[in-house]
Every structure is written in structure tokens, then in C-alpha cells.
């Protein structure tokens, strides 16, 4: 998994999901926010429980809007890329 805009690449392994939640993209983003994101400005990534508008999400190199967005269920080996468009060009 990768976060571009000064790309950060990381592999995440999920053994079991907590409390029987489906391991979908929504779960992943919440998990990333809670466990891995060190920057206190969480709202630049997740806003009101979903990925902030302006952050593009690619699921296996395809627009997540074509893949069911946050409901997409993660498969083993999937590549999820978050690209923020929120700062200067």
C-alpha cells in the first residue's frame, strides 16, 4: 500500500479483522488513521468518517469510484494508493 505525494509505501497484513467488520476500504482508512498516521491533521485524510474529497483513491491502479469506493472488500495482494490533490501545484 502506498501513499503518494512524497510517496510512502507500506505493506499491511491483516490476520483477522476486528469485531467481524468487513475488511473493506473504509475499514482500511480508519485503521490507517488510527494506527499508522502520525500527523495530527487526520482531517486531511479522513473527514467525517470517509476519505476526504480531493484525496484520490486507486484500487489496483483503477479509480475507486469504479470499484465500489469504501465498500470494496480487500483481497490479498491488492494495491491501494491514496493521492492527495489538496496542496499546491
Amino acid at each position: 500500500m502506498e501513499k503518494t505525494a512524497n510517496p510512502i509505501t507500506l505493506q499491511v497484513e491483516f490476520t483477522t479483522d476486528t469485531k467481524g467488520q468487513p475488511s473493506n476500504v473504509a475499514f482500511l482508512t480508519t485503521w490507517l488513521c488510527d494506527h499508522l498516521m502520525k500527523d495530527p491533521r487526520k482531517e486531511m485524510f479522513v473527514l467525517e468518517g470517509s476519505v476526504r474529497p480531493g484525496v484520490l483513491v486507486l484500487i489496483n491502479d483503477a479509480d475507486w469510484e469504479l470499484e465500489g469506493e469504501e465498500k470494496y472488500e480487500l483481497q490479498s495482494g491488492d494495491e491501494i494508493v491514496f493521492v492527495s490533490t489538496l496542496h499546491g501545484g
Partner: protein
């Protein structure tokens, strides 16, 4: 969700949902469509002349990186023979611009384009780091913005280039339109809808080609109709190397709010972005410029008047039926305008009467199709079929069948507090800064005013090229 195939090639897996028309297409088709749309914007707005020297304002960020890549690709592919150079401004912000300039240097090598960097320190004697040390983080964006505009023009002049293109995208354009709408600044709203925003000199070019003065630099925005999302996607699929971080100094709070609003709207209805631009263009037609002429009226006549800073006539979306006005009507308009400008001098409120013409024989459905601006020697064009700007549905529907008159009350901006927006009498408008020679409606330009404040603590320095 089962994978769908691309709507264009019907073979590859769809990877992008296009914001403007909801098309589901694959990455290779997307790249080719994106490029051809930019080409179409350029040719239909007649932005470039064959062989023209163009400076690409390059920050190292996504927009200018994509702009440079696309222009280089199109220039090679379509044999435009443009002479492209990269022009960067070094504001002197350690930890930000120094890093992004490294990206620009790599692009220069990669695309084989020469690079020119002009720095605030050299031009003004102040880097932004020093400015911020002096005035603090609050309000420093004003300095940066005023300095940058001149810096690009001066850099272009040093290169002998009369045209600078910037990477402003559709999201930026709709943000700016929205901000000006929220500020009630219709003159600026009107200017922000232009794809060409130049600062042409009032003085005629001396000696024709070759000699370019910094007051004679044209500006344009070839990515003005390109979604930010698609620019980022393009950079991603083309594996472009760009620098991405936020300026370390204070962000523009108001723009930030407009931006958030636009992004939220985009999530719900992606067409909103292009629709805001279209609305801006349509509103601009109702806004009288400093000479009192509406953009939509009398494009043909516009070329006979002297241009003024930031107010290039008749580019962008002037292709509507409104532009086909008769001469007598223009005269009527002129008379009305003289009246109006007199009224504006005394009060802040005026009433504009907009004559509505009978429906012309042909409607021009494509709002982005400009009328040719002046008589250029030659411009890059495609066949008319290819000129269709691909806004998916927009057409102008003028339903008036009889000549009639509509009266619109127009609240003009408070001119006392903001003299720059006031339609000034021609003599003042045609001025140059008495210190540095830059175009200015005041005797001393904004940059020199700001420098004066800064230099109070220092021995005086002027702007040097």
C-alpha cells in the same frame, strides 16, 4: 463489482471514471483523450502561433509538470514547432521551493527543455524567508503573489519570450470564480474566466519580433478546462515525477474554504466544476469592463481599443450569439457607458441596460469557442470538427425572438476602498510604474509599494532586471 471494460476501446479494463461525463475508460485511452482535449483547447482558443516561443511557468508541482509534459508531447506529435522553455520562480522559501526546483531541474533534463530560474532575492533584494522574518507569517501571501506575477513577466522578458503558460486547472478556475462571486467582485470574476490573462503593453512592440519587454507578456492557461483529478491521474499513469507539498507559510484561508466547497461539490456532482466555469463565463458577459463594454458585446470592436493590464478582450468563452452585435448597437452601448462611468464616479450604484438581440441565424453551441482575437499572422487550429470542446451537454439557448430590453441592477464594488478595481479614466489606466516601469494603474505599482515598506529598515533598492 465486476470489472467493466473501457467504453472507448471495449477491451481493456476501465480504470477511470471521468468527472465531466461519467465515461469509464482505460488508462491508455484516458491518456490519449486527455492529450487531445488539451490540444483542442489550445487550437480552438488559438493560444499559440506556429513557431512561437513559449515559457512554461514551472513550479515542479503536478499541474505545471503535466502541462510541460503534455505540451512537449503535443509539440512533437503535432509538429507545432513551438520553442518551449521552462521558467521557474524561486521565491526563496527554504524547505519548500528549493526542493520543488530540484524536480524542475530533472524535468528540464528529461524533456530536453532549457530552464530559467528567476529569484525574488535577485529581482527584489528580498527572499520570502526574509520577508516572513520581517513581517511575520500573516499576510505574506500578498507579497508572494504580487512579486510572482512580475517575476514571471520579467523572467520571460529576460528569455525574450512573449508568452507564459501556467498550469491553472479547472478546479483552480472554479475556485477563483467562486471566490470572486463571494466577494462580490464581478470585474475580477470576469477576468478570471479568461483563458488568456495577459498584461500586454500599451506601448506598441518596437521592432517587431525579438525584443520583448516585461510589460508585453501574454499569459494563458491551457489546462483551464482540465479537472485536477484527471491531471493527477495523468501524472500517475505517465509516471511523471513531481513535487508535492504544501507551502510552509500560511495558506490562503479563504481560497482553502472555496477549495473545500468545490471538492465537496465534486464528490456529489462532478460536472459542477465545469459548470461553475461556464456560469462564470456567462456572467462575465454581463460585466462591463473598464471601458464599459460587456465582453459578450462587440468582440470585433474590442480589437480596436487599447488593451489593458489583466484584461485581454475576447478570448475564452465569447462565442455565444451575444457577440454578433451590430455597429449601431455598439455606438448605443458606448454612449450608455459614458453615462455609466460618469455615474460610477459619483456613486457606487448604477443601472445597466442590456439590449437583447433577436435570435441570430445560427447558434453557436460551443461556449468555449472563441472569436479570433485580432488578426494574428497564423494560429494553430484544427478542423472545426475537432474544435468541439467536450463539455458534454452545454448549449446556449436564447429564447428571445423579438428585440427586447432587460434591465439589470448592478452593484459595483466599493471603489473608494479598492482603487485597483475602479474603472479608471484612460490616462491613469495606461500608466507604468514610475519606479520600475511595470504596468500599473497607479503611479507606483503594488510591488514597489510593498518593497518600500520592507526597505524602510534597509538601504533603498529598486527592482533590477
Amino acid at each position: 463489482m465486476p470489472p467493466r471494460s473501457c467504453e472507448v476501446c471495449n477491451t481493456a479494463r476501465a480504470q477511470i471514471l471521468r468527472p465531466k461525463n461519467h465515461a469509464r475508460i482505460c488508462a491508455p485511452c484516458f491518456i490519449s483523450i486527455f492529450e487531445s482535449e488539451i490540444a483542442s483547447t489550445i487550437t480552438s482558443a488559438q493560444l499559440f502561433h506556429p513557431g512561437e516561443r513559449i515559457a512554461i511557468g514551472a513550479s515542479g508541482g503536478k499541474d505545471s509538470t503535466v502541462l510541460a509534459s503534455v505540451l512537449k508531447t503535443l509539440n512533437d506529435r503535432l509538429h507545432w514547432n513551438l520553442d518551449l522553455v521552462l521558467l521557474s520562480v524561486d521565491e526563496g522559501i527554504t524547505g519548500y521551493r528549493d526542493h520543488s526546483l530540484e524536480a524542475v531541474k530533472r524535468h528540464s533534463a528529461q524533456y530536453g527543455l532549457p530552464l530559467k530560474i528567476v529569484s525574488y532575492a535577485d529581482l527584489y533584494g528580498w527572499s520570502m524567508d526574509q520577508v516572513v522574518a520581517q513581517i511575520g507569517k500573516k499576510g505574506n501571501c500578498t507579497y508572494c503573489g504580487v512579486f510572482r506575477r512580475q517575476a514571471l513577466d520579467r523572467g520571460a522578458a529576460m528569455l525574450g519570450v512573449g508568452h507564459v503558460v501556467t498550469g491553472h486547472n479547472a478546479d483552480d478556475a472554479s475556485e477563483t470564480i467562486l471566490m470572486n462571486l463571494l466577494r462580490g467582485d464581478l470585474p475580477r470574476l470576469s477576468r478570471s474566466t479568461n483563458i488568456v490573462t495577459s498584461t500586454p503593453s500599451q506601448a506598441k512592440r518596437k521592432g517587431g519580433e525579438g525584443q520583448v519587454t516585461f510589460t508585453d507578456v501574454k499569459r494563458s492557461k491551457p489546462l483551464m478546462y482540465a479537472y485536477e483529478k484527471e491531471i493527477v491521474m495523468y501524472a500517475h499513469y505517465k509516471k511523471l515525477d513531481y513535487f508535492s507539498t504544501e507551502c510552509i507559510y500560511s495558506p490562503e484561508a479563504f481560497r482553502g474554504s472555496a477549495r473545500t466547497l468545490i471538492k465537496n461539490l465534486e464528490r456529489i456532482r462532478p460536472e459542477s466544476i465545469l459548470d461553475i466555469i461556464q456560469s462564470g463565463i456567462d456572467m462575465a458577459k454581463l460585466v462591463p469592463d473598464a471601458e464599459g463594454n460587456r465582453k459578450g458585446a462587440g468582440d470585433d470592436q474590442a480589437s480596436t481599443r487599447a488593451p489593458r493590464p489583466e484584461d485581454e478582450p475576447n478570448e475564452g468563452g465569447c462565442g455565444s450569439s451575444n457577440s454578433q452585435s451590430a455597429g449601431s448597437e455598439m455606438a448605443e452601448m458606448e454612449a450608455k457607458l459614458t453615462q455609466d462611468s460618469r455615474a460610477e464616479e459619483t456613486g457606487t450604484e448604477t443601472e445597466i441596460t442590456l439590449p437583447i438581440k433577436p435570435t441570430p441565424h445560427t447558434l453557436q453551441p460551443h461556449a468555449h469557442q472563441p472569436t479570433p482575437s485580432g488578426p494574428p499572422n497564423a494560429v494553430l487550429t484544427l478542423d472545426p470538427k475537432a474544435q468541439n470542446h467536450d463539455r458534454h451537454t452545454h448549449t446556449h439557448t436564447h429564447t428571445h425572438t423579438h428585440p427586447t430590453t432587460t434591465t439589470l441592477p448592478l452593484r459595483t464594488i466599493q471603489t473608494q476602498t479598492n482603487p485597483a478595481n475602479k474603472p479608471a479614466p484612460p490616462k491613469q489606466r495606461l500608466g507604468h510604474c514610475t519606479r520600475c516601469g511595470y504596468l500599473s494603474s497607479q503611479s507606483i505599482c503594488k510591488a514597489c509599494m510593498l518593497l518600500e515598506g520592507l526597505n524602510k529598515a534597509r538601504p533603498r533598492t529598486g527592482i533590477e532586471v
